[in-house]
Amino acid sequence: MPLAVTVNFPAALQPAAGGASLVVREAVASVGQLIEALERLAPGLGKELDDPLYNVAVNDEMILHAVDRHPIADGDRVEIVPTMAGG
């Protein structure tokens, strides 16, 4: 089971997260469980993350589908990445 997973947030989510990053120190095995743990650490953050603007990158690889089932391991670096289109 994971001992520590660091999650980094973009500026727009930092007020809800209480800072630029959070360290989750409880047993989580997937991104879905990680988000539940984040909600326990920062109530309201889970709702903010339930937004199609935000994707999840694990160890610098962005997850495009089946995100909640994506496995998380001890020491993983997780980043919330705003995703949009441009011209």
């Binding site: 973009p10 500026a11 727009a12 989510l13 339930d50 937004d51 199609p52 603007l53 935000y54 994707n55 999840v56 990158a57 610098d60 690889e61 962005m62 997850i63 495009l64 589908h65 089946a66 995100v67 909640d68 990445v81 705003p82 995703t83 949009m84 289109a85 441009g86 011209g87």
Partner: protein
């Protein structure tokens, strides 16, 4: 038949009075004879293709003589504002349309800022320009009155100096009562990647519209008039508040567009291994260009007429020895990608400086970056040498040389004259034929955005079928990269009108996503709505067909159903394909660069991914089936007859 005869015949069919409240006239401008005539777009045309981009297609369809060449003065250059332009929040856009001298197919480019709105406030929805002026000319539209002014004193001016000179001479104030579209030296010199500037950064960019305007010897069109309210069928401002609230409440606007602008997209593309790098030889690049590294250089944000979003980042390099390129507007994501990873540059300051130079020189950063990246790869491979470049060594990441090349391009000096030929460098004899193997272009147009679409099959299909060539702004199913939407199949099916695979690299159902996006974006362009704030491009929550329908009823009094609007979007694409068909475009041209079929993606979580030719062909066939396209890429016969019935015959 000469263009004047075509115009005369068309005018005979057009009404002389407005067909609905808020409709402006179409002004036909004979630059050679310094004559103007005006009439109004027929109601049947508006019912079929709306206004803006859609009605522009009506005018090109009726006036195009494909026996000429794109830069012949008998080929018109057409400006059109959308039916809601200037009236609805974030609807500040207009299109310019012609036959592209760069690609050889349809030229259709969209811009915002203030000109499209101010054109309407002078009483005009469309301008149809043709004939070559005897000398450089400025078309002045002052309180609805049109005059031809001598632009000789402005010849040779680039954008910064031109804007300063015109504001001084005309006496208005930008963004209050004065707006302009203008070309630079690049347009005067008919550089094929030159655009028509519509503001400090706003540009009708794609397909060489600057070269086309230069071929008419038209330096600028200036509008001067106080902002005024257009007569509408019924009150519309209450519903405007609903739209504005919807815009500002949408997460992508609130948390991204209005704070940082489009450079946010760089990081997802990089993390995905989809960042076109060094002319798409590689697919990821430095984290040093992530959006947060631009924060220190962004003193504020700016925006278009009556848009509450303000998504355009301003920039300031804070150089110790500043020059006129120390401050400016942008960059957008496209410029960041095309002048960052595409050219092997990893310096924020270099990207910003090159962006500011392109804005001044009036160069389309997409086509210009593509042309330079192509040349650099050819040099890397030894296909061209210092003999071709006038002794210049082309080295990835060499920002100083790239800056020098931009000025050479604008002036058509030295190797810049080769780069100014853009995708046509082989056809014009500058490069050997083998160079085409490394050209990242479709239908003769270099790729608009830096996204390498070997992974996302919906993106790839969109780039292949876009009517103006390889451009993401026509139909990009951006939500394909939003995991929360991919993981909600019911919602995703509702968005696109049928099942679309959740897997980004699957071919299944992707034709539906592209079809839906192409329809709604064509409607958005035709009413004047910004792409960034149109549903499906950046969010499922932004204004879409119901909001357009509601305000069309309020502003014009014309009743549309959502289904009728969607059909209008499809019709716009259909007319564009009819035009392209006359220019020789066929199904074989709805394709992608060989590299994406033949070379696997070299990095990222989708390493090894490429486009399978058979799967792509099957996806294209499905797209044709749901788009009512025949095997030659044009509308099916019955539909084509319907369109001709509404728009008239093409000759």
């Amino acid at each position: 038949m000469a263009v004047r005869d075509r115009v005369a015949r068309l005018l005979d069919e057009m009404p002389r009075e407005a067909q609905f409240p808020s409709q402006g006239a179409t002004l036909f401008v004979d630059l050679e004879r310094r004559e103007t005539r005006q009439a109004f777009t027929p109601l049947a045309v508006v019912r079929t293709v709306l206004g803006g981009r859609g009605a522009n297609m009506y005018y090109l369809h009726r006036l195009l003589d494909e026996t000429l060449t794109p830069l012949d003065p008998g080929i018109p250059l057409i400006f059109g504002s959308g039916l809601l332009t200037g009236l609805v929040p974030s609807a500040a856009r207009g299109n310019c349309t012609s036959w592209s001298p760069e690609s050889g197919v349809l030229l259709d480019s969209n811009a915002g800022d203030y000109f499209p709105s101010f054109l309407r406030m002078n009483g005009f929805d469309h301008l149809v320009l043709y004939g070559q002026a005897a000398a450089w000319t400025l078309l002045m539209i002052r309180d609805g009155v049109v005059s031809f002014e001598d632009a000789t004193p402005y010849a040779g001016l680039d954008n910064l100096d031109m804007r300063e000179a015109v504001a001084r001479d005309v006496g208005g104030t930008w963004a209050r009562n004065l707006a302009m579209v203008n070309i630079t030296r690049a347009g005067e010199n008919q550089v094929l990647t030159s655009g028509i500037m519509a503001g400090p950064k706003a540009i009708y960019a794609r397909g060489g519209p600057g070269a086309k305007m230069g071929s008419l010897r038209l330096k600028a069109i200036v509008t001067l008039a106080p902002t005024r309210e257009l007569p509408t069928a019924q009150p519309y401002k209450v519903y405007n508040r609903t739209i504005a609230q919807k815009l500002l409440a949408t997460s992508v606007v609130k948390n991204a567009l209005s704070k940082t602008g489009t450079p946010f997209l760089y990081k997802p593309s990089r993390l995905l291994g989809a960042m076109g790098t060094k002319n798409n030889q590689e697919t990821t690049w430095s984290d040093g260009l992530d959006a947060e590294h631009f924060d220190a250089h962004r003193p504020g944000m700016a925006g278009c007429f009556r848009c509450p979003v303000n998504c355009r980042p301003l920039n300031d390099l804070h150089s110790a020895t500043p020059d006129k390129y120390d401050q400016g507007d942008g960059p957008e994501y496209v410029t960041l990608g095309k002048f960052g990873p595409n050219l092997g540059i990893d310096s924020v300051a270099s990207v910003i400086r090159l962006n500011n130079i392109c804005n001044d020189l009036g160069l389309d950063t997409a086509s210009t970056g593509s042309a330079i990246g192509w040349a650099f790869e050819l040099f890397q491979r030894g296909i061209i040498t210092a003999e071709h470049t006038g002794g210049i060594t082309l080295t990835w990441g060499d920002a100083e040389t790239i800056e020098r090349l931009l000025f050479q391009m604008a002036r058509r000096e030295g190797f810049g004259s080769v780069l100014a030929a853009s995708t046509r460098a082989v056809e014009q004899g500058h490069y050997p034929a083998v160079a085409l193997k490394y050209r990242i272009a479709v239908k003769g147009l270099g790729q608009s955005d830096p996204h390498d679409a070997r992974i996302l099959k919906a993106f790839a299909l969109g780039l292949a079928v876009a009517t103006r060539g390889m451009d993401h702004l026509r139909n990009r199913a951006t939500l394909e990269i939003n995991a929360r939407i991919n993981d909600n199949p019911v919602f995703k099916s509702e968005l696109y009108g049928g099942a679309v695979s959740a897997e980004p690299n699957s071919y299944v159902g992707k034709e539906r996503a592209v079809r839906a996006c192409e329809n709604i974006y064509a409607v958005g362009d035709s009413v004047g709505m910004c792409r960034f704030t149109t549903k499906l491009f950046n969010s499922p929550s932004l204004p879409g067909l119901p909001e357009f329908r509601e305000q069309l009823a309020n502003v014009t009094g014309l009743a549309f159903t959502d289904e009728a609007l969607e059909q209008c979007g499809l019709n716009v694409m259909g007319v564009e394909r009819m035009i392209n068909h006359r220019l020789g475009v066929r199904r074989k041209d709805d394709t992608l660069p060989d590299r994406w079929f033949d070379e696997p993606n070299p990095s990222g979580p989708f390493r090894g991914e490429r486009i399978d030719r058979d799967e792509f062909d099957a996806m294209l066939s499905r797209f044709y089936a749901i788009s009512r396209l025949a095997s030659d890429g044009a509308p099916e016969d019955a539909w084509r007859k319907e369109l001709v019935g509404a728009l008239g015959r093409d000759r």
